[in-house]
Point group: D2
Chain length 390, copies 4
């Protein structure tokens, strides 16, 4: 799969949420559950290639086919495991738990990139704390600001998004056919212990069954979109300020053109912006799916989640690396900033003159207000958040 | 405005986020800011009717027109207030702060309804903790469950949504033209004190300027959608189980028909479901607006927020009341539940027979597993959350 | 209602789809239907103010309350009309037919603005057919183009959107309680004639009942979004090219600032862009509502449509006028275009040099290719479309 | 790629819009363009595996890498082809034209399934033209209707969607770097002939460059969503009426459960419904991308399209086959319909009694109104549309 063709950069998401990873996560859940049931040491192997040609549609979800395949494989050498495999679970337990482990792992990588981005933005804000530039509102020159404050505003958004990522929990699902855990009780096991045991084995949080209460999924979605929002907002500034007529910022390595030899396109910003234009609608789909839950298992609204979450996680992870790279390699041109500001001097001091007149005194030498203090406040927040996250 | 015509039930949202409320909130911000600047006792009056015929479009936002109107009105009797009005602020400071006060107030009412709903669902779950009924997965009979566990699952979703509401903060906006607070500094005021003073006066949280870092807005959106998701999920069950062929639930007061005298329609559920189908896309719009922020004030992406937030808040508040009423008046028919279960007996015990055989023993008398314990766990959570919220 | 506060410019949509207009449209349908039933000359009057305090929620739609009010009002003076009012119809017949008449009228105004826009864009394309400027791809200078071709591309998009508007049909709804027209047959009327009669009276298209087949609604939505897409795309160019560092375009009348006296903001473009960021999600909501239709009347998915369609129509109509005004007043600065092009000369001729070398000849004097011919082709299309539409 | 794991049934979409298909379509465009330039007989081969490890991100789109690879491969054996490869085109020409050929082919398969579905629905409507059943509005029993009219309503929606599919055009893209066709003119070719030649070779429609006027893409999106809307609406009825308490419809082959041996789940309906919950937001994304076009190539909004269109086309094609299979195998139970109707007799005749009283006569024997005629009208439309499409 060269998914990069349709979504250049997608290979940054590596093996997260590939079909093979999903299969492996499913197998991990089944294996951990066997241990919960007391069947230790079973070795489950499922081959992604062996699913080729297997009929996955008729069950409506992949677990039915995979469990059948695993049982066949276990039948000869590990009959005890074959007998107990999946007993007490329902397909949704396995799919949900598998998705949660995959989401957790993908988000851990997002957080790693987020930390890299925060460090780099903090450096940039510190370095350019006092680099003056023109502020632009509604596309027009407004008043002076600093590159440091611009970056601090980017950083605020990134820290907000990071906050939400760190608050996420990834609950286990182990409710059985309809969330009552009846089968595991019938098998003579303690239901609370079974649930907790599976959670521990998979590194998930213990939780009462949430088959049709999907906030765990939509919280992930909301937090991921908050990330691409924050990065898209940075990309928008880079795309604007790297226009040749402005030239105050530039990507470190521009992208080439298939026909124009001179081009150096802001490719990372372009691709981040692309992601940010798609993730809100993916999250909306997951919210709709949450609202359309019904009875003890939804007739379609559950099935919506798997590929939507895959897209959301891979696109966010891809954009995470692109955003961190963008910040790493960003070139700032204080000379161009100064030149723009000088050219706009009369206009961007108009408000100041009005204020000074109102205050009954001469305009001060600069007009940067509390910019430096505001940068410092955000840097302090970043420092604390970085320390707490280690 | 009889907005009920297009959105029946909308009057439940009362005066929240009406044009008059927006105007009043704008005036409140300006008045509080005058006090921050040291102009005490000014009395600002803006008349919504006086805005009729006023040109609101050309400024792109309502503050420009309102400030001009206020200045005119103050000019004769309160010249000092006229002189200092709005000095040090920018339109976005006023709009954002006004929206935050309106959102805070509307969400306080959502929380009140949420508490009513939680209490009622807790009562229902307790009352029907052991009322058996059939669980339905993918529309078909699955295994037995209890009405108590069904309600507990509803309650879990509502508690999750409530959690997110209580975590919201409503930050003040007071950055001046480009977020540097330059004007307030030029006016000789302490910028941090000015910001904190405005926050205190308005009952908002102090915050560094967030003109183009919009997570405060999208967090509100995400939390509201989580509410309608949770209520929509309840409505879906009521709509399904109040079908005449099932008859296990019924709305307390059904809605009539314009032509069929016998009809008793599940109107509250219908209208809640309606809301839940629209809010995810409104939240997506706010996320897109967040991602499209650029420079120091966005050229359109900011303007998107006001009406979108209005719709989201009013629809959620309307649905909040409808959901609480739905739960209040819900009729449960244990006899019909028992009849369904009896009719499906062979099928819904199929899994149990398989499990009992596997365990090498006779099937137990019931097949409700840990249902009761799970209900109790959710009830404990509800009790704690209710206690903490008072 | 000063809805401009939340959506500046909204008053451009005038009385279209206001609550009073909805009420009037409902009354018109009922009046026309009385005539279909043979009750001529009835005078139905409904007062929007009289609905204040009336309970609209419990019926789930406004018709039930309105019909009850009309019957009361008719009871004394026009008993025959009171007796036959609404007989043979269901609420959805009235709401759907009323919405279709309102949509038709609003779209007629959109088309009027569209025609104004097409004329002005055609003039601009003709005037600047040969005005050279730099083309920009991925924000960077690419090769030369002309302002004429840029405008022609805008125009292509507008003509595409106009095409879709002209193909819309607005079907009557008159299926009775469940789409069988049973009541009208029971009343001894010819069902096909009744339907056709209502269609003719309301100026709608005759149609078999489409209570749960909602393509008529989603086609309107798709066509409206195509309009805001086309205008948003123009606004994006104006917002970019009117940046002070570029200065190749400018809005005729810029918007002011509440604090910065020098500002001239591209307000029309900003507000158009705002609309374009919201309409796709509104259309998505209408499509979801179409997909969620079920049985003979949907339990929520129908109710979603009314306010969503209202928002979509009013926002599109508002943006229509803004787009036409934007084009009317647009200022083009060929001198700035020439200066940019001169400054970028080496770069933007790089491709040409490569092509000339490949062709084994000297580079031609210009590098505008077929730009003029392409402008002419689009102008011809515009001329034909304008002629056909009159 | 076993994409079925995340989207069961996805293999129904076969090789449409796979990475390999995209690569092949790109190569086809380049090959056809070589012929347009007069380089006949070149054999271009690109190996999807060879792209593994190739860096696709830095160009922002796949064409840059693919063209480089093709040039290398041609360098030794076919130097003339290597020299002229891609000359006069830009990446967007190739990507857009390639997407249009892929969309056209995928939609041809959608139409094939649509025709199968229309035939089957027509048969069902004819067969059950007079099979009485209860109509349900807002979940409750309303009045009698027929299974024939229900199916005819489904069919109306499907015919509407089919109409839109047949109106689609798939334009070629060949504007060069910025849509002026300057390079092809510099190379001494006739630009109109070159464009038309490429269109003919690829089986696409000739068109002026539409690099930033994206209605061709959004029209495809709108038409595809109309399809899933129509099928989702059918699925909703099957899901409702195959509930065991209703039992009036059933899927031919139910899906199994991983733990409950008795289950026969309506899997096709579930999976169709799943698709219908996701496509509207994908189309919204494409509309947003259209609205965010700017200058001569958009900085992100173009890049959004590829994967979004891939998802939309594959999901629609998958659902197309599922919908046709669902109809093919649908089981109708007139006995259960009759029983429901008998049980609801008093209620569902309430309207009739009121009408008869109003008309001053005894209620007629049935209360099916024009149901039969309405079925016939839709069948006539289906027949004409089937005939015209062959």
């Amino acid at each position: 799969m060269v998914s990069d063709l349709f979504w250049p950069g997608d290979d940054r998401a590596g093996d997260h949420l590939t079909p093979a990873a999903f299969l492996e996560a499913i197998v991990d859940v089944e294996e951990a559950w066997l241990a919960v049931l007391g069947v230790e040491g079973a070795t489950l192997v499922a081959d992604i290639d062996a699913l080729w040609g297997r009929e996955l549609e008729s069950g409506g979800n992949p677990v039915i086919t995979v469990v059948a395949g695993l049982r066949e494989a276990l039948a000869t050498g590990q009959p005890e495991a074959a007998r107990w495999l999946h007993r007490g679970l329902t397909s949704q337990d396995v799919v949900d738990s598998a998705l949660m482990t995959m989401a957790r792992d993908a988000i851990a990588d997002v957080v790693t990139e987020q930390r890299r981005l925060v460090r780099r933005l903090a450096d940039l804000a510190r370095e350019h704390r006092d680099t003056p530039m023109v502020a632009r509102t509604l596309t027009q020159h407004a008043v002076p600001t600093t590159m440091g404050l611009k970056v601090a505003t980017w950083l605020s958004g990134v820290l907000d998004a990071w906050d939400d990522l760190t608050r996420l929990t990834f609950p286990v699902q182990a409710g059985g056919a309809a969330g009552t855990q009846a089968a595991v009780v019938e098998l003579g096991r303690d239901p609370a212990a079974a649930r907790a045991g599976l959670a521990t084995a998979l590194g998930l949080a213990d939780a009462v069954p949430w088959h049709t209460a999907r906030r765990p999924v939509t919280r992930i979605a909301d937090a991921l979109v908050a990330c691409t929002d924050a990065w898209g907002r940075i990309a928008a500034d880079v795309l604007t300020l790297s226009r040749p007529e402005i030239g105050e910022l530039a990507e470190g390595v521009g992208g080439g053109s298939s026909t124009m030899p001179h081009k150096a396109n802001p490719v990372l910003s372009t691709l981040i912006r692309r992601a940010a234009l798609t993730t809100p609608q993916l999250a909306a789909t997951l919210h709709l799916a949450a609202a359309e839950q019904v009875a003890e298992r939804a007739d379609g609204a559950w099935h919506v989640e798997w590929d939507t979450l895959r897209l959301l996680l891979r696109r966010t992870l891809t954009a995470a690396g692109q955003a961190a790279d963008l910040a790493d390699e960003l070139r700032v041109h204080p000379d161009r900033m100064a030149a723009t500001l000088a050219g706009a001097r009369e206009d961007v001091r108009a408000e100041q003159r009005a204020m000074a007149e109102l205050a009954g005194r001469e305009p001060a030498g600069d007009y940067l207000g509390a910019a430096g203090d505001l940068v410092d406040a955000v840097l302090t927040r970043a420092r604390i958040q970085l320390e707490e996250s280690t």
